[in-house]
């Protein structure tokens, strides 16, 4: 494994060396406020002791601390607290950690090489930003069409009432919900489900079937998906892609789950929900396609505004961890920019 990591280190160094050149671009790069580009040199130590992944992210964290000292401290404290919930590491756990390090090294090298191949250049051939391909954004597409979970939520199932809506929920449906709302997935921030007759009960959104019974259900953020609750076994999720692991400073993809435009931190041992790490819009930006509606205003994050600002030739818009370059005349998306490089 040491050889494997050393080999990966060599590739990483080569890749990072190649990526070090773009700083001499067209001047926009001068506004880079110490983002994690420099981190690439320290990413791989190849000692195989299971700690290198943590060290890999230290440069990232250092940058974040500069920008948000309070936030970082709180994050670290939360992470420490959650770590305490995990039992003393066994040999098996160590092996798992080492494997995780290998995967981490491999994906980082792979992503950087891939990113390098997607460099965007201006007319003079100089690098102006880095364009990423769609692989990491694939999960946004995967999550856009979801199905309800069949049957009854656990609480109602236990009552063995034939999966009928509970009396209180029936009354709520008849009376409408709070503020006179018709309950619908969108009221709870859910955009990937079909319309229909829904009712809310005890942390779940219930879909009424044609026979008056419950045709399916959705666990809700703040309800069944509250902190401390176990992840509902039937609630499908996607693995958080490498880019988001790094961008949202998550620390390890096995500890996070993505579902319905929410990234949850979960306990790797018992899959209990530990926190809500990020909310996403799920809006679809496809290169070469029109920019989705809802991005009329320049919204690039604070740390990148010196680098990506609107000009007559290019507009920049932020969504779900990426900055997109858009042609102001055609409104077509020209590039998705990796903010981690």
């Amino acid at each position: 494994m040491r050889y494997l990591l050393s080999g990966a280190a060599a590739v990483a160094l080569a890749a990072s060396g190649a990526l070090a050149q773009p700083g001499n671009g067209n001047g926009k790069d001068s506004g880079d406020r110490g983002k994690p580009a420099a981190a690439s040199m320290k990413q791989v130590n190849g000692n195989g002791n299971g700690n290198s992944a943590k060290r890999d992210r230290e440069p990232n964290r250092a940058v974040e601390r500069d920008r948000a000292p309070d936030a970082s401290r709180q994050r670290d404290a939360k992470a420490e607290k959650s770590e305490r919930r995990v039992a003393t590491p066994s040999l098996k756990a160590e092996k798992r950690e080492i494997n995780s390090v290998e995967r981490d090294v491999e994906r980082r090298v792979e992503r950087r090489v891939e990113t390098r191949s997607g460099d965007s250049r201006n007319r003079d051939g100089r690098l102006i930003d880095r364009v990423v391909f769609n692989r990491d954004r694939e999960l946004l597409r995967l999550d856009r069409s979801r199905d309800l979970i069949d049957g009854c939520p656990p609480g109602l199932r236990k009552k063995n009432n034939g999966c009928l809506p509970p009396g209180q929920a029936k009354k709520q449906y008849a009376d409408r919900g709070l503020f006179g709302y018709d309950y619908r997935p969108g009221l709870f921030g859910l955009s990937s489900y079909s319309s229909g007759r829904y009712m809310y009960n005890d942390g779940y959104l219930l879909r009424l079937g044609s026979g008056g019974g419950i045709g399916g259900y959705i666990p809700l953020l703040g309800g069944a998906l509250s902190i401390g609750n176990p992840w509902p076994s039937s609630y499908t999720y996607n693995r958080v892609p490498d880019y988001y692991v790094d961008y949202y400073n998550l620390g390890g993809s096995d500890r996070y789950r993505y579902a319905d435009n929410v990234i949850y931190r979960v306990d790797p041992e018992d899959a209990a929900i530990l926190s809500v790490a990020a909310l996403l819009t799920g809006d679809e930006f496809s290169i070469g396609q029109p920019m989705p509606s809802g991005y009329d205003v320049y919204n690039v994050p604070y740390a990148y505004r010196d680098r990506y600002y609107d000009t007559p030739e290019a507009s920049y818009r932020y969504s779900d961890g990426y900055v997109y370059r858009v042609d102001p005349k055609t409104q077509l998306v020209a590039a998705a920019i990796d903010l981690l490089i």
Partner: protein, 189 residues
């Protein structure tokens, strides 16, 4: 602490007055409402620095979204004041109970926008476009911003309309923009 903060803010605003009059295109003309830029604090801290936002702070804590406002990603929070929540009456109080927390989360997501948006950049976009602009939320909808005279306002489709009041604070991971009304979504989907 807050009076000191306010005095500091007033001093900064007064000092900036000649500058803002010289740069009339983008900057807010009214020093009372110009966005306060503080890259040393997080969105959560910015919300804490706003006056009259206790209800919203409690709502965010209860809805378990606090970590999002302290994270590395950038969001703009449309922040209804305590008076705005009070105006919802008993149903507003019920909204803050544990049983209704999923609905509260959905409502808060409608008040969160991706990225770093200030009232000034929104006003400029409205001026450039010559009419209302829309911004995607972290919920199901898009917020429409428009100008009514000198007043910037925000509205959900078929839902409530709110005026942008007070001073926005731009933090290192987003912006807090005060609203005088809670943006309740439309009743039927």
């Amino acid at each position: 602490m807050k009076p000191i903060f306010k005095c500091g803010l007033a001093a900064i605003a007064l000092a900036a007055l000649p500058l803002t009059s010289a740069c009339s295109q983008v900057d807010d003309q009214d020093p009372k409402t110009a966005t306060k830029d503080d890259g040393t604090i997080t969105l959560a801290a910015a919300l804490g620095a706003e006056d009259g936002m206790d209800t919203l702070q409690n709502a965010i804590t209860n809805s378990e979204l606090s970590g999002v406002l302290d994270g590395p990603a950038s969001y703009t929070l449309l922040a209804p004041t305590d008076a705005a929540f009070d105006a919802l009456g008993d149903e507003g109080k019920a909204l803050l109970t544990d049983d209704q927390r999923p609905l509260l989360v959905g409502l808060l997501r409608e008040h969160m926008l991706p990225g770093h948006l200030t009232p000034e950049t929104i006003e400029k976009a409205i001026a450039d476009k010559g009419g209302p602009v829309t911004i995607s939320t972290l919920g199901e909808s898009q917020v429409t911003f428009s100008m009514n005279g000198d007043q910037l306002s925000a509205a959900l489709p078929g839902g409530a309309t709110a005026a942008i009041t007070g001073t926005a604070i731009a933090a290192n991971n987003g912006v807090v923009i005060p609203l005088d009304t809670v943006l309740m979504p439309q009743k039927a989907g």
